[in-house]
């Protein structure tokens, strides 16, 4: 009997052996798969996760396609273009072009979810980064970048939609958060940017070129102050700007901090305006004027831009670049054995400048030639990879409703009249960076803020800096644009329009300066010949995508008027 009992005890113990240590026994993390909960504990992983946030800003859904449609196409500076004959009304940019702004617009939906995808990835770093295990330098930089990028995406969401849902102080958005007001969102952005300023280095070594610096964070903060101050001045029957206050002083101080500390932040105007928008000897130059841009690789031909979120890449070369040149580069036609071939391998030819913009320029202003590509006046050629010969392209009204194309994102080597050579030899043209904040922008904010703060002389100096650079960026230097003796606020706004034309700013500037209705209502669409209607106040912001309202069971409330 004793033996039996002993045996049983032995087996019973064996049986329960597992229960006593089953905490460990049942803890089997997956093999060969990196798990998020144990991820942000090394310097390299922190870096990779940060790159993954940057990855979103170069996606079509965010800054490569959507932003400029809202900023330029919807404004008086550009029309949609991009379609043969420009007549397919189903393209989403065209709806916005015609101020046919509907909550069902697919572009709004992709922009909304695209931006929040980036915010999610920034939140991953902000919530999960193990600041003990990751070295201080890396942790600071990565956190700073995450704060900056989250702030930028929130800021731009507000530009487009007004106030948006904010994440809880720790953790992630769950889809159950209601929209915050513009002021609340701005407070959130401001807090993020202040953290970023503290965490980020003022300058980056060459090997980190393109990553955010504290100067960029300060520039974005300037922009926030400018926008908030502008909003505070607007008449506001819908009460969407409640809480926004005059912050012009802070705006000026912040901008001048950047301007006066060139040695620290390293920003300066590029002596040659056109260098900002093309390649030199097949290599893209990183200009000191770039405060913050969407980077793409320096080489011209790096394949089709990867736009997917899930890591699968488009194109055979696994390209990496912004898709902006794909969208905006002029659409070319070339003569092939007597046959005219439509080659949208150049680009789709979206974002065509309007006659109004064309007329807004003094045509001796070098910026005019750098901004507008004219049919029958400019012609372009491209090296044909197979034959090794130069191929002549025409581009015509077939691809543009206005007869013009955006030269800033048609990467053409020469700006001289006549023969221009497209960068890139096959496939889509080379990828250009998307300029989000240029130093010229900072100077113009400084000008605007100085003016608002009563210092017209300083404002004049700032505007004249911009105009002088434009004059001097061609050889021999142009006479236009001439200096102002003293600027008006409209001069400053106009300078913004010319300097930053077709870079995605116009619509938002019109809204914040209260000039949207006057500029956009009644504007004649060149394709339809019909005047457009700008719904006062409502069209200050685009509608929240209808699917999002449905999906959140009306937790998200639609903007007034839609």
């Amino acid at each position: 009997m004793k033996t039996i009992i002993r045996l049983i005890l032995f087996f019973v113990c064996m049986g329960f052996f597992f229960s006593s240590c089953n905490k460990e026994f049942l803890d089997k993390p997956p093999l060969g798969i990196q798990v998020a909960t144990n991820f942000l504990v090394t310097d390299s992983n922190a870096y990779y996760a940060t790159i993954a946030v940057y990855n979103v800003i170069r996606a079509e859904e965010t800054y490569s396609e959507s932003e400029w449609v809202f900023g330029d196409v919807a404004s008086d500076d550009a029309e949609s273009g991009g379609q043969k004959g420009g007549s397919d009304p189903t393209t989403t940019p065209l709806y916005l072009d015609r101020l046919n702004i509907l909550p069902s617009n697919g572009l709004l939906e992709t922009y909304w979810s695209g931006m929040f995808t980036g915010i999610y990835r920034a939140n991953v770093i902000i919530n999960y980064l193990d600041t003990i295990k990751v070295s201080k330098k890396t942790a600071h930089s990565c956190l700073g970048e995450a704060f900056f990028l989250r702030a930028m995406m929130y800021f731009d969401l507000v530009k487009v939609f007004g106030g948006v849902p904010l994440p809880p102080s720790t953790g992630f958005l769950t889809g159950k958060e209601a929209r915050s007001s513009i002021k609340e969102t701005y407070n959130f952005v401001e807090a993020d940017l202040k953290k970023a300023i503290n965490l980020l280095p003022a300058k980056r070594p060459l090997s980190e070129e393109g990553r955010v610096t504290s100067g960029a964070a300060k520039a974005l903060l300037t922009k926030l102050y400018v926008f908030e101050s502008s909003y505070a001045e607007l008449s506001d029957p819908n009460g969407v700007f409640t809480g926004c206050t005059n912050r012009w002083k802070e705006a000026q101080n912040m901008a001048e901090d950047i301007i006066n500390n060139k040695a620290i932040y390293g920003y300066d105007l590029d002596p040659v305006y056109n260098n900002l928008f093309h390649f030199v000897n097949d290599v893209k130059v990183y200009s000191p004027e770039y405060v913050f841009i969407v980077n793409s690789v320096r080489k011209v031909n790096y394949g089709f831009p990867d736009i997917n979120y899930d890591g699968t890449e488009w194109g055979t070369l696994g390209g990496i670049g912004s898709a902006i040149t794909t969208w905006q580069c002029c659409r070319g036609y070339y003569n092939s054995g007597g046959k005219v071939v439509d080659d949208y391998n150049l680009g789709y030819g979206f974002n065509c400048p309007t006659k109004e913009l064309f007329n807004a320029f003094n045509h001796n202003d070098p910026r005019f030639r750098a901004t507008i590509l004219q049919d029958k006046i400019d012609s372009v050629q491209r090296l044909d990879a197979t034959s090794g010969t130069l191929q002549w392209f025409k581009f015509s009204t077939d691809a543009s409703s206005t007869g013009y194309n955006n030269k800033k994102y048609s990467p053409i080597t020469s700006v001289e009249r006549g023969d221009a050579q497209l960068d890139g030899t096959n496939g889509h043209v080379g990828n250009l960076d998307v300029k989000l904040i240029r130093y010229a922008d900072v100077i113009l904010w400084a000008a605007e803020a100085s003016f608002k703060n009563g210092d017209v002389a300083k404002a004049t100096t700032y505007v004249n800096q911009i105009r002088a650079r434009a004059r001097n960026s061609v050889t021999p230097a142009s006479t236009e644009p001439a200096d102002y003796s003293t600027v008006t606020i409209d001069d400053i706004y106009n300078e913004r329009r010319l300097e930053l034309a077709l870079e995605g700013h116009r619509y938002f500037d019109l809204v914040r300066t209260g000039k949207a209705y006057a500029s956009l209502n009644g504007q004649i669409n060149s394709l339809t010949g019909l005047p457009l209607e700008f719904v006062q106040y409502t069209y200050n912001f685009f509608p929240i995508p209808a699917t999002e309202i449905t999906m959140t069971n009306n937790i998200l409330k639609q903007n007034p008027g839609y």
Binding site: D27, Y48, E548, T552
Partner: protein
């Protein structure tokens, strides 16, 4: 002195056909009489039943000794026994008689019939139970019902035998998996039951490795009250397989074999060459081909063969009172009906039991199996095994061979290579799967303190799987060529173990009988897989060169390596209480708590309870005394909660880091990685709650038995992908999984069996019927639709997802346009909404569902369900003298099959080939209006064959003579001289007859979406593509002869 013993242990099938057993069973299972010396004198006698009919095959043993014999055909026996001995007479279906020898030399015995079916012991989870005491829905089938069928796995033999267990094969290729659904499809995810072999848990694929002659019994736990003991894995039902054990007595040598030939049971009829030529001329309005001179090749036949199948089984079974053993070996070699496909399997098994002490016994079961098989790219829409569509499409006007005997090239441009040439190009050594698997267990059992038993068992499962494929350089034509040789190798290893400890307490206290089982189970598994691929290796077909090699690593070679690994563990505690009051009221309660490494944080543990109550009405004295027609009557009620954890894997539970999110830093690309979705650590198993009620009855002295069941089974917490609002920031492709969906299956099951005899003629008729409905109650959101993960754009057509699962409809319903006949004239076309301005008479009429005057995607609707209204089966067994005959039918009533293959076989654009003859020739013309085949329209203006519509849905009802056997037992008096115990020869067939209106190859479609690589280690079938016919290889019709021999 003779001694003899038969192998009656666990549940011999119901008393079914006991008279027939006289003729057959004895010969199948009894043993040769070995002469042994013993003390005593010869006792003789005659054994009869209550009707004074002699009983053949009765075991007569001297109790406590190893001597024994069996009665002959006249019921006579002779045995040597001492006067102090006691003779024991046992025979299945009868009560055992024990008679002391004393001074008698002649002992005549009358055996009384017993209510055997109900005394039969049924294997349930972690124990056995008398069938009469079952409280849950448990069906059992004994081994002899499954013997001698030309099938690879026992699951194929079970088709149509158990009510509520729906089994269909996915393809007729040898080694193809079966789809098994027990009481409906409970989830949009993995709905496969688990298979428990001698206590160890596997997936259904284990059945392929077990020789059916090694199986003692199968029982199927159908309802939650029975499966809850398997906790988080029991929701899809449990199939319990028990292998044969040794038996004490002289060693029985058995040898079974059959050989047979298989051919395709049915092929659809492709268009003949001349018809094809005529059709092409007609479509193109000019003479392209001369119908009188074109070739006439039926490519389906050309690549098919009459395929041999052979199976040999050998077993030794014996032992003494202390030790018993079973040793068996079997070899199966089955060629496929498509040339160059086959399955070969070798299995050997050794089961040992040893009684160490009165209180301690130990034992082991061990099986080693080795299989080599080669299947086609089965069902792959783009690499058809059958030359009917996709890349394999071929025309009937090309001959197989040129005059010089070489393979002919297609007479049409841009066609695939000669299908038969392809088959010979793929040598048997290519695309070869080699599966080696060892499964087994060792156990010890201790009895103590009279009422207690403790059992400890260690199970292991070790598998090694290889797949290799070599594609040589070939150039059949511009399109069909392979410029670089290609070698692929895939190596997988799996190792799993289970450690089970159970304690049993059994006590009878007056009218109370209590049985308590409590136990623990720990288990773990590890899987590992490496897959390598090399291109441009030595361009040689010499098999000895088809290996990876360092020296082949030329710079130009393209090498790729992939793979995966997985591990998991579980710890469970489990218990069961059986309580019986007065042999009338039965109560069962079970509980299992599973801890699983599959789940995280608070969800590691899950609890699974069940209760069942049964009442034996027939044991009420009122019924006992007044209704003698009722032999037994029992009513059962059950409730239980069970889980399904097979729907998840690491990628659904863990927050995974994805990579590949690049960005340029310093002008150079840098790869980013991050988690794309929030950790969904809350994921849990799917839970199924089932209520069931059943009635078991036996009437007229057990001649008629039936069981009726009703069940209502609701799966909740079903795992669905949930689309989040955009501000959550999760891209569509990685939306997280949540326990949010629900599905209800409910239905009836009936099984019935009647047996009787008229003189020496015995017969039994049995049948099963099941009806169930399947409906989705909830998904991620009320409006959400779940699509299959695969199956878009079939055959390159833009068909879209092939099924959709939505609330209010059955899982994987078919969706498309509803067809209302064919436009007969222009007036009709003009007055009806049309698909296209070019729609003309002869085109399909699509119903304008939303009545908006046009036909567009808003007019698509649910047009069919892949689940049958009814499944059924019946069998007839007849015995007369030494002959036995059995026929097993199986059928499905009213089920929809979607036939995307028709978009090819009915395509009349002139681009595709090999159309179905009788139908396309019958296409609508103004003169031929009484047809359901739309007009020939090369421009496809109405998309008659290009969009999913109810025109593609056919009724898949069928009735099939699944198995037929006619056997003859060589009379014993002849065998005795040869020292042979039993010799039966038989002829038989599988799938001999099929009654169906279905026009495709085979109405048995199953889970259709293929593993399109031919590599059996890769790719489970998509559970949401059900009954979609991509033209799988049809079931084989098999004719066979066989021998059962034992001595």
């Amino acid at each position: 002195m003779k001694c003899c013993y038969t192998n009656m242990r666990l549940n011999k099938q119901s008393r079914a056909t006991w008279k027939m057993l006289i003729l057959t069973f004895i010969l199948m299972n009894s043993l040769l009489v070995f002469k042994m010396s013993a003390q005593g004198s010869a006792i003789t006698g005659v054994i009869v039943d209550e009707k004074n009919q002699p009983l053949t095959g009765v075991n007569v043993v001297v109790k406590g000794k190893t001597t024994g014999t069996i009665s002959d055909i006249d019921g006579k026996y002779s045995i040597i026994a001492a006067s102090t001995d006691v003779l024991s007479f046992t025979f299945i279906g009868f009560k055992t008689e024990e008679i002391p020898v004393g001074t008698q030399t002649q002992i005549n015995v009358t055996l009384k019939e017993e209510v055997t079916a109900l005394n039969e012991v049924v294997v349930i989870g972690y124990g056995v139970q008398k069938r009469s005491d079952l409280t849950g829905a448990v069906s059992s089938v004994s081994s002899e019902k499954l013997q001698n069928m030309p099938v690879l796995g026992i699951d194929q033999a079970l088709q149509g035998k158990i009510a509520g267990v729906d089994i269909s094969s996915n393809s007729g290729e040898p080694g193809s998996n079966m789809t098994i659904r027990i009481r409906g499809t409970g989830t949009i995810n993995n709905a496969d039951p688990i298979v428990v072999v001698d206590g160890m848990i596997f997936g259904p694929d284990i059945l392929k490795t077990i020789s059916s002659s090694d199986i003692e019994s199968i029982s199927v736990l159908k309802d939650a009250s029975a499966t809850a003991i398997y906790g988080s894995r029991g929701a899809n039902g449990v199939i319990m397989v028990t292998t044969k054990k040794g038996i004490s007595g002289p060693t029985v040598v058995s040898f079974n074999m059959y050989i047979g030939n298989q051919e395709a049971a049915h092929y659809l009829t492709p268009m003949s060459g001349p018809d094809y030529a005529r059709l092409m001329n007609k479509i193109n309005n000019r003479t392209i081909w001369n119908p009188d001179t074109v070739a006439n090749t039926n490519w389906l036949k050309a690549i098919s063969q009459v395929a041999p199948i052979q199976n040999y089984e050998f077993s030794l079974r014996g032992g003494n009172e202390k030790s018993t053993f079973l040793f068996s070996s079997s070899y199966l070699n089955q060629d496929g009906i498509l040339i160059n496909t086959f399955y070969k399997r070798f299995v050997t098994r050794l089961n040992l039991d040893h009684k160490v002490k009165d209180w301690l016994s130990i034992g082991e079961d061990l099986q080693v199996s080795y299989a080599q098989h080669r299947s086609d790219y089965e069902g792959d829409p783009y690499n058809r095994p059958l030359p009917l569509g996709g890349n394999g499409a071929f025309n009937p006007i090309t001959p197989i061979y040129n005059k010089d005997g070489s393979f002919a090239r297609s007479v049409l441009p841009d066609s695939a290579g000669n299908p038969l040439q392809h088959r010979y190009l793929d040598k048997p050594g290519d695309a070869l799967n080699t599966d080696s698997r060892i499964i087994g267990n060792i156990y010890g059992e201790i009895s103590f303190l009279k009422d207690f038993k403790f059992k400890s068992s260690m199970n292991v499962d070790y598998g090694f799987y290889e797949y290799s494929k070599f594609v040589p350089i070939y150039h059949f034509n511009k399109v069909d060529q392979n410029p670089l040789s290609n070698l692929e190798g895939d190596y997988s290893k799996s190792f799993g173990w289970q450690f089970i400890n159970t304690l049993n307490w059994h006590k009878v206290l007056g009218v109370h009988e209590i049985n308590i089982m409590a136990g623990t189970e720990a288990s773990a598994n590890n899987d590992y897989n490496v897959n390598g691929n090399a291109q441009d290796i030595l361009p040689n077909q010499d098999p000895s060169l088809q290996y990876f090699n360092y020296f082949n690593s030329f710079p130009s070679s393209i090498y790729k390596v992939n793979g995966g690994a997985d591990h998991g563990s579980m710890f469970s505690i489990l218990g069961r209480l059986n309580y019986t009051w007065n042999d009338q009221l039965l109560f069962t309660g079970t509980f299992r708590r599973d801890g699983s490494s599959k789940f995280l944080a608070n969800n590691v543990y899950g609890d699974f309870p069940s209760f069942a109550l049964a009442y034996k009405l027939s044991n009420l004295s009122f019924i006992k005394n007044n209704v003698p027609q009722i032999s037994s009557l029992k009513i059962r009620l059950g409730w239980g909660q069970i889980g399904n954890s097979s729907s998840t894997d690491a990628t659904t539970v863990y927050p995974i880091i994805n990579k590949g999110m690049t960005y340029a830093i310093d002008g150079q690309p840098v790869t980013g990685m991050t988690t794309l979705a929030p950790p969904n650590t809350d994921l849990q198993w799917e839970t199924t709650t089932e209520k069931s009620i059943g009635l078991d009855a036996a009437l007229f002295k057990n001649k008629l038995e039936f069981t009726v069941d009703y069940f209502n089974k609701k799966t909740t917490d079903m795992i669905c992908k949930v689309t989040q609002p955009g501000d959550v920031g999760i891209p569509a492709k990685v939306q997280p999984y949540q326990n949010i969906g629900a599905v209800t299956n409910k239905g009836f099951e009936l099984s019935i069996n009647y047996r009787s005899s008229i003189g020496k003629f015995t017969y039994s008729i049995g049948g099963v019927v099941a009806h169930s409905t399947n409906i989705v109650d909830a998904l991620a959101t009320p409006g959400s639709i779940v699509f299959p993960q695969t199956g878009n754009g079939l055959y390159g057509q833009s068909w879209g997802p092939i099924s959709r699962t939505a609330v209010g409809y059955p899982i994987a319903s078919f969706y498309g346009y509803k067809v209302d006949g064919i436009f007969q004239n222009w007036q009709q076309v003009k007055s009806h909404a049309v698909f296209s301005p070019k729609t003309a008479p002869g085109d399909l009429i699509y119903e304008d569902i939303n009545g908006d005057g046009k036909i567009d995607s808003h007019d698509q609707t649910y047009i069919g369900s892949p689940f049958p209204k009814m499944t059924y089966g019946f069998n007839i067994e007849v015995g007369f003298m030494n002959f036995d005959l059995s026929a097993q039918f199986q059928g499905v009533y009213k089920v929809d099959i979607l036939t995307p293959y028709k978009s090819f076989t009915y395509d009349n654009t002139g681009n595709k080939y090999n159309e179905v003859q009788e139908d396309l020739l019958n296409a609508w013309t103004p003169q031929n209006t009484n047809t359901d085949v739309p007009r020939l329209d090369p421009s496809l203006s109405n998309q008659n064959q290009g969009v999913v519509s109810s025109w593609f849905i056919e009724d898949g009802s069928y009735l099939r003579l699944k198995n037929f056997q006619l056997g003859y037992n060589i009379p014993k008096r002849w065998l005795d001289k040869l020292k042979i115990q039993k010799l039966r020869i038989y002829i038989g067939g599988q799938n001999l007859l099929t009654f169906t209106k279905y026009k495709g190859n085979d109405p048995e479609v199953g889970l259709s979406q293929p593993n399109n690589t031919g590599n059996s280690n890769l790719g489970a079938r998509d559970p949401l593509i059900i009954n979609v016919d991509f033209i799988n290889v049809p079931q084989a019709r098999t004719y066979m002869v066989g021998v059962n021999l034992s001595f």
